[in-house]
Structure formats: C-alpha cells, structure tokens
C-alpha cells in the first residue's frame, strides 16, 4: 500500500472510531466530529492546492499572507466587538508585529526569501499574534465591564483614565503570554512543536528541525508580547473618553 493511501485510510479510521465511540457513549458528538473532519479535509485540500499554486507563482505569496492577516484580524476582532474599532485594533496588533518579524527574519537570512519558507513562517507568526490579540482583547473587554467599580474608584481618587486602566491591561497582557511561555518552557519535553514535527517528517535532520523550531519559538515570544502590548494600548485609547473618563463596553451612558 502506498504511503499517501495508508495515511488517508488511517486518519479516516481514527475519525470513524471517534464518531463510533461518541455514539456508543451517547455524547451527541458523532455528527460534529464527522462534519469537522470532513470540513478539515476539504479546507486542507484547498489550501494545499492553493499553496502549490503560490509556490509556482511567487507573486501570489503577498496576497496569500494578506488573506491570512485578514482572517486572523476578523477572528480576533470578533472577540472584542463590544469596543468601537475592534477590527482596526486587531489588524494593527496582528499585522505590525508579525509582518515586521517576518521581514527581519528574511532580511538577516534566517529563512530563504521564497514562498516555500515565507508562507509557513508568516502563518505561524500571524497565528501567534492572533492568539495574543484575542486573549488580551477578550480579557480587557470582560474586565472593563466587571471592573467598572474599580475603575471608577481609581478615577475618583484623581487617576487619569489611562492610569486607571493600567492594572487591567497588565493583567490581560500577563494572562495572554501564559500559553506561549508554557509552550516554550516545555518544548521538546511535553510536546514536540509543529514546526519540528513537520520538518522531521519532511526529511530534515533533527538538528535542523530543532534550530528552525527554536528560531520560530523565540521570535514568537517578542511577536506575541508586542501584539498583546499593542492590543492593550489600542483598547485603552478606544475606552478612554474626553475629560478623563472611561467607556464601559455595553453601558448605556
């Protein structure tokens, strides 16, 4: 049996087994599992075909990265839609750090300036920036509502609106960095990160895979921190009203 066929059959068998198990346990999940698997298969087939096209026509790489940024911004922006300009905040917080980092990596020659190297690298960095933006923005929107009394107390004690929001933004940024810090700390011990696995399966030596993975992980630390900081700054600006006041999302006043 050829390897591609074996991969296809094995993965189909695993998802069918999961659906059967969910059905036996009456979890009401069988349909969702099968639908999700089918959807993933279609999406990956389409993306595979698209990336193959991009590899042949390098000019399309820019459009592909733009689509990744737009999709990530829509996703992250929807998590903080209670704030005015949430999509603009998400685009800035994702695109600026992620694309700048890609530029630096290409400039210093860390990766070849080809679609084959640039697109996966940009994808990982955009994904990381999206995660940091989503976590920071969602936490801030929640805390602006739940912490309205604390903000009012600080304003009443003479704080500027920006200063009254600092404890909230610090908590949100620290919380957003936890998954990446944990992932970086446990890299290779608890899980083998995706880049490493992909490169090894693709035929690269473990040493090369480890070096590339480390480059990506360490770049992500700065990219995600910058995304979280930018999100916090832009949310602070969006929530600050003239006269040192703070807009509480969802409030009528």
């Amino acid at each position: 049996m050829s390897r591609p066929l074996a991969q296809l059959l094995a993965s189909a068998a695993f998802v069918l087994a999961a659906a059967w198990l969910a059905h036996r346990q009456r979890l009401g999940l069988s349909r969702s599992l099968l639908t999700a698997a089918l959807r993933a298969a279609v999406q990956l087939a389409l993306v595979g075909a698209l990336i193959a096209l991009v590899f042949r026509v390098p000019g399309l790489a820019v459009a592909f990265v733009a689509v990744m940024v737009a999709t990530a911004s829509l996703t992250a922006g929807s998590r903080m839609r209670a704030l005015p300009g949430s999509r603009r905040i998400a685009i800035a917080a994702i695109a600026l750090p992620a694309l700048s980092a890609v530029g630096v990596l290409l400039l210093v020659g860390a990766f070849a300036a080809t679609p084959r190297a640039t697109i996966p690298t940009a994808g990982i960095l955009i994904g990381g920036a999206m995660l940091a933006t989503t976590l920071t923005g969602r936490r801030l929107v929640e805390d602006l509502g739940a912490g309205a009394d604390e903000i009012e107390a600080r304003l009443s004690l003479g704080d500027r609106a920006r200063d009254a929001l600092v404890p909230l933004t610090r908590r949100a940024i620290a919380g957003a960095m936890v998954p990446l810090v944990d992932q970086t700390r446990s890299a290779g011990l608890v899980t083998l990160p995706g880049t490493f696995v992909g490169l090894v399966l693709g035929g690269a030596s473990p040493e090369t895979a480890a070096r590339v993975q480390l480059t990506v992980l360490l770049t992500l630390l700065l990219v995600q921190l910058l995304s979280a900081l930018l999100t916090a700054e832009l949310v602070t600006r969006a929530a600050t009203l003239p006269g040192e006041r703070v807009a509480v999302p969802g409030a009528t006043g």
Binding site: D149, E150, E152, A153, R154, L155, S156, L157, G158, D159, R160, D163, P167, G243, E244, R245, A251, T252, G253
Partner: protein, 238 residues
C-alpha cells in the same frame, strides 16, 4: 437658581442640569446648592437618577445640559483629575485596591503627603482605629471596607465628598455611626452630598434634601420632605 447667586456659593452650585444616559434625560432642570460645612441628601426611588446626578458633580459622567459650579467656577473648565481630588466620591461598592489599608489610603498620593499622621487622621475620621493601617484590605468585612473607602477619600483632603448609598450594606447601628461621621465631617467644614434611598437616614443627617421625583428635583429641609412625602418610606437599595 440664578447664575449670579450660583457665583457666590461656597461649594457646589447646580443650575439647569439635565442628566441621563445615551442622550435620554432622566432628570431635567435640576438646581440646588451643596455648601461646604453642610450635608445635602439626594433622595428618591431606585432609578430616579441619584447615582447619575452624583457622578455629574465630579464629571465622571457629563451632564446633558446645564452647569455645575465649584466655588463659582464652572467645573467644565476645571482639570478633571484636580476636580475629583477636590470633590471626592465614594461609590456604593467599596472597592479595595490590592495591598494593605495603608497602601489603599496612600494610593496615588505624593510620598511627602502620605505621612502616618495624615493616614491615621483619615482612619479615625472614618471611625477606624490606627491599628487597621496594616490589615490586608481585601480581608476586611463589608462595613470595614466602607469605612476604609471613606478614609481613602478623606486622605486627599477634599473640599466636598460625594457618597453613593453609604448605608446600603450596613445594619442600623453601623448606619447611625456613618451618619454621625458625616455630620461630624460637615461640622469640620467638609461639604457632603449623599445619595440615599433611606429617608430616615436622610432626615437624621441632612441639612438640606434634594428629592428626585418625576424627572426633576425638589429642594427642601428634611422636615419639609417628611411632611410632603411620607409615602416614600424606606425602599430597598437598587
């Protein structure tokens, strides 16, 4: 209240004020003066606009129309942080900031002004012993938190103090104690504006009552208030 009269008020003067949310007025044509050295009670049922009106006095909210003057100066022209230091506000929920009572009281104060004597004086004025300074603020009871929040506002030496439902979470004894504290502070020259649903408390502590009814304000003495609105018995807090 005429503009010329408002110019001469030593304290807050409110003239033609409309307040509300989202452009919709809850109160219109509100006019009263809250002088330093006196207690003014804003009374009315839940939703009457007491808290909204209170927050317009130190511009945490902006009025829809009208003026608020502090010592004859339009508060719209004052720097907001400076205005809020001069006109303090203690919210209905006494928020404790992280750390000790000392850290709460010294919050945002210049180190030179956060001396022990000042903090102790504020604690005593709020009815707490100096030993409270080193307690963890988050571990205090509801009544103690309310007093620390009051002391924290007092450490800034405000000229006027706004309090939103200060007795809402207190039993009768504690409420009486808070009432005595407020009247004592007013005797020392502080202007006090207290929003309360409790007419009995208002009658006990206030020199002047501003009753919020039917979208506007009626100003009178506590005796006049009790005579004209006996049906507005104590209502549960919102």
């Amino acid at each position: 209240m005429s503009a010329r009269l408002a110019d001469r008020i030593d304290g807050l003067a409110v003239a033609g004020l409309a307040v509300g949310h989202g452009g919709r007025a809850v109160l219109r044509d509100v006019a009263f003066a809250a002088r330093k050295g006196s207690v003014t009670a804003l009374v009315g049922p839940s939703g009457a606009g007491k808290s909204t009106l209170l927050r317009c006095l130190n511009r945490l909210l902006l009025p829809l129309a009208g003026d608020v003057l502090l010592d004859g100066v339009d508060t719209a022209g004052l720097e907001p942080c400076e205005l809020r230091r001069r006109v303090g506000l203690v919210g209905q929920t006494p928020v404790m900031l992280p750390g000790s009572v000392r850290e709460n009281l010294a919050y945002a104060l210049e180190p030179a002004t956060a001396d022990e004597r000042r903090l102790t004086h504020a604690l005593r004025a709020a009815g707490l012993a100096p030993a409270f300074l080193d307690r963890t603020a988050g571990a205090l009871s509801g009544g103690e938190r309310a007093r620390v929040a009051l002391a924290r506002a007092l450490t800034r030496a405000p000229e006027l103090l706004l309090l939103d439902e200060p007795t809402a979470a207190l039993d009768a004894d504690a409420a009486r104690h808070v009432g005595a504290t407020l009247t004592g502070l007013a005797r020392d020259g502080l202007g006090v504006v207290v929003a309360t649903h409790d007419l009995g408390f208002a009658a006990d502590v206030a020199d002047q009552v501003v009753a919020l009814r039917d979208g506007t304000a009626v100003v009178g003495t506590p005796a006049e208030l009790l005579a004209t609105a006996p049906h507005e018995a104590t209502e549960p807090a919102s």
